[in-house]
Amino acid sequence: MDTGRLKTIAILILLLVNAALGGILLWDRLSQADAQAKSRQELILVLERLGISLEEGVLPSDEPLYRCSVSRDLGSDSALTLALLGEAEMQDQGGNIHYYENKNGWARYRSSGSFEITLLSAAGSLEERMTDGGLGFRREGSEYVCDFEGMPVFNCRFSLSPVQGGGVLISGRRLPGTPQAGAAGETLNAETVLLRFVDQISASGAVFRSIQQIRQGYVLSSSVSGGELQPVWQISTDGGVWYMDAEKGSLVSVVGAS
C-alpha cells in the first residue's frame, strides 16, 4: 500500500477518534451542566422548605482554589514603601516588625501581614501607587480587600483615613508575601457547602431568612512557621456573614473579615 493511501486511512481514523472524543466531551459537559442545574433546583427547593430564600443567580460557578503557603517577603514591604514613601532604610524593631521612615512619612510591617503607612501628604493617586507597589486589591465599600489570582482574601483588608496635617493613614492587613499553591485539594461545590452551612448554622441557633451572596475566596492564617491561604466560601445572609471551609465543609471563625 503506498504512503499516500496510508496517510488517507490515518486521517480517516484520526477524524473518527476526534469525533468520538469530541462527542464524549460534549456529552460530559452537557451532563455536568444538567446535573448542576438539577442540583441547584433541588437546593433551592430544600432551602424554600426550610424557609430560606435563595435567588438562583446568587449561586456562582465553582472555580478551583488551592491551599497556599505564604512566606514573609521583605522585598514586598520595601516595594510598597518605595511606591508610597520613596527611598527609606529599613529598621528592625524586633519581633519581625520592620519600620521605614523618611521625610514623606513612615511605614511599619508585621509578619502577620498587618501594616500601617502614614503619608504626610496625600498628593497623587494612592490607588495607583499602591498597585505599583505590588498591592493587589479591590474596593469594597469604604475598605480595600486584598486579592490573589482574582479571588478576595476576606481577612486581608485595609482602609484609608485622614491624619492631621492633610496626610493619610493606610492601615490594615495584606498578604505578607506571594502565595505558593500547594497540592490540588478537593474543594466542595457551592451546593454541597450551602447544605452543610444550613445544617451547621441551624444547630448553632442563628436565624436568617435569605441568602444574599455566596463568594469563593481565601482567608489568611498566620503562624510562626508562616502563613497559609485557606480556600473558603463566604455566605452573606440577612442574619450575618459566615465562612465555610471549602475543603472540609465546616464553619470557620474568621477574625478581621467583614
Binding site: 504512503t3 499516500g4 496517510k7 488517507t8 490515518a10 486521517i11 484520526l14 477524524l15 477518534v17 476526534n18 472524543l21 469530541g22 464524549i24 466531551l25 460530559d28 491551599r67 503557603s69 524593631q93 524586633g94 519581633g95 519581625n96 516588625i97 508585621r110 509578619s111 502577620s112 498587618s114 505558593q180 499553591a181 500547594g182 497540592a183 490540588a184 498566620s222 503562624s223 510562626v224 512557621s225 508562616g226 471563625s253 477574625v255 478581621g256
Partner: protein, 419 residues
C-alpha cells in the same frame, strides 16, 4: 498548477495528521483520560518553626501548663489539663507573642501590686510551670529577644500598655516581677483571642478559702474529663534498637560486657551504650560529640536527639523540656513525659536528659516509656478542694494533677502538692 497541487497533497496530509493527532490528545486530556498518569505538584515546606531562611531552625520544646484570657470586665477564660485547648490558644497567640518578645525593651522591675493590677484587667496569662529562658522562648517563636538576654519567666502576662501597644510582664524563677515595653500592638493580641468566651476561671488569690495557696495558680470551675493512663511494655527494647542505629553501636555479644551493678555496656566506635536493670538507657560520647555553646542550641540538640530515640516507641506521650541545671562547667537539660494532658512523674526522676560539659555533649539518658489513654474515666477531687488542701499542707503551694508511674500497667491521675 495541477502539478503544484499534486505536489502539495502529501505535505498537507502530513500536516493534517499532525493537527488531528494534537487535537485527539487535547480532547483525551480534557475528557480526563490522562488523569492519574501525570504527576501532581506537591507543596513544599517542612512545617518546622524557623527563624528565617538560611538560619538554624528551633522547634518549641515546652508549652504552657495553664493559660488565661481576662477581659476588661473581669470575666475570664482559663485552660488547664487540656492539651488540645492549650494548643489552640497558643497557636492563636504565637504571632503576637513572638512580636511581643522580639520587640521587648529591657525589663524593668515592678511591684507585685503592679503585676496583680494588670492580671485583673484585660490581659493574657501564660504559666509554664517551670522557668523558661525568654530568649529561648523567642527563638521558638521565630524571632530573637536580645533585650531579654539573661531573663527567665515562669509566668508571662501580655497587657495593654501605652499608645495601644502591648506591654510584657513576667514573674521570674525567683518570684520577682518585671515589665517591658514592646512594639507589638494590643489589638493584635485582642484579635488573636477574640474567639474565646469566658468559662469562669479564677486565680487562687481571688477565691475565698485559698488565701494560703500559690496566689497565681489558675483554678477552673470544672475540670476537663481525664482518663486512666495505660503503660505499654516493650519501649526499652525498641529504644535500645533505635539507639544502636543512631549512635552506631553494634549490639552483639562480642562488643558488650556487664558491669557489677548489672548494667550491660555495648561498645561503639564513638562511645558506649548502657542498658541498666532499672530500665535506663544511656549513651556516653568518647568522641564526635555535638558542640552546642548556647542554651538554645543545647535544648534544640537535646530535643532532636531524644526525638530520634522516642520515635521508636512513641504512642500517645510526648517529651517536653522542663529546665536546665548548671553546676560548674556542666549543664544538664531535662525532659519529662506528658500524656493525657498531664505530666507523668517517674519514680526515678526525670524521663530524659542530655548533659553538656562546656557545651560539648557528654551523655544522653532516657527511661523509655509508652503510654496511652484508656477508655476508663476517673473521678477527681474538685480543684478548689485540692488547692485548699495544698495550702493547708504548705503555705504558698499549689495543687497539680499528675500521673505517677509506679511501675504498674495502669496510671491514675492524682493531686500532688508543688511549691
Amino acid at each position: 498548477m495541477k502539478k503544484l497541487l499534486l505536489g502539495l497533497k502529501e505535505p498537507v496530509k502530513s500536516l493534517l495528521i499532525l493537527l488531528l493527532l494534537c487535537s485527539a490528545l487535547f480532547l483525551a486530556w480534557q475528557t480526563g483520560l490522562f488523569s492519574g498518569l501525570l504527576p501532581q505538584s506537591e507543596a513544599e515546606g517542612d512545617g518546622s518553626t524557623g527563624s528565617g531562611e538560611g538560619t538554624l531552625s528551633y522547634t518549641r520544646a515546652a508549652w504552657p501548663c495553664a493559660a488565661a484570657i481576662t477581659w476588661d470586665n473581669g470575666l475570664r477564660y482559663g485552660v488547664k489539663y487540656d492539651d488540645a485547648a492549650m494548643e489552640q490558644i497558643y497557636s492563636q497567640l504565637s504571632v503576637p507573642l513572638g512580636e511581643t518578645l522580639g520587640s521587648s525593651e529591657a525589663p524593668v522591675r515592678i511591684s507585685e501590686k503592679s503585676w496583680t493590677g494588670a492580671l485583673s484587667r484585660g490581659s493574657v496569662f501564660l504559666d509554664y510551670e517551670s522557668a523558661q529562658s525568654l530568649p529561648v522562648l523567642a527563638l521558638w517563636l521565630g524571632t530573637e529577644a536580645e533585650a531579654l538576654a539573661g531573663s527567665n519567666a515562669r509566668r508571662l502576662l501580655l497587657a495593654p500598655g501605652e499608645a495601644e501597644l502591648t506591654q510584657l510582664l513576667f514573674q521570674d524563677a525567683a518570684g520577682r516581677f518585671f515589665r517591658c515595653a514592646t512594639m507589638a500592638t494590643w489589638s493584635s493580641v485582642q484579635t488573636a483571642v477574640s474567639s474565646f468566651l469566658p468559662n469562669g476561671a479564677s486565680f487562687a488569690r481571688e477565691l475565698e478559702g485559698l488565701e494560703a495557696c500559690e496566689p497565681y495558680s489558675l483554678i477552673l470551675e470544672q475540670l476537663p474529663a481525664l482518663t486512666l493512663l495505660q503503660s505499654y511494655p516493650g519501649a526499652l527494647d525498641s529504644c535500645a534498637n533505635r539507639a544502636a542505629q543512631v549512635f552506631s553501636v553494634p549490639m552483639n555479644s562480642g562488643s558488650s560486657y556487664p558491669e557489677p551493678d548489672g548494667t550491660q555496656v555495648y561498645l561503639g566506635e564513638y562511645g558506649s551504650l548502657r542498658r541498666s536493670p532499672e530500665g535506663l538507657l544511656s549513651y556516653r560520647y568518647e568522641e564526635g560529640a555535638p558542640v552546642c555553646k548556647t542554651e538554645a542550641l543545647q535544648i534544640e540538640q537535646s530535643r532532636q536527639l531524644l526525638e530520634q530515640l522516642h520515635e521508636a516507641f512513641r504512642r500517645e506521650e510526648q517529651l517536653f523540656y522542663v529546665g536546665s541545671w548548671e553546676q560548674g562547667d556542666m549543664t544538664t537539660v531535662y525532659f519529662d513525659y506528658r500524656a493525657g494532658s498531664l505530666p507523668v512523674h517517674l519514680e526515678s526522676g526525670h524521663a530524659a536528659w542530655c548533659q553538656f560539659r562546656e557545651g560539648v555533649l557528654q551523655e544522653v539518658g532516657i527511661y523509655p516509656r509508652s503510654y496511652g489513654r484508656s477508655a476508663e474515666n476517673t473521678d477527681l477531687l474538685p480543684e478548689m478542694q485540692a488547692a485548699a488542701a495544698a495550702g493547708s499542707i504548705r503555705a504558698g503551694s499549689e495543687a497539680r494533677l499528675v500521673y505517677p508511674d509506679l511501675g504498674g500497667e495502669s496510671l491514675n491521675p492524682v493531686w500532688s502538692v508543688r511549691g
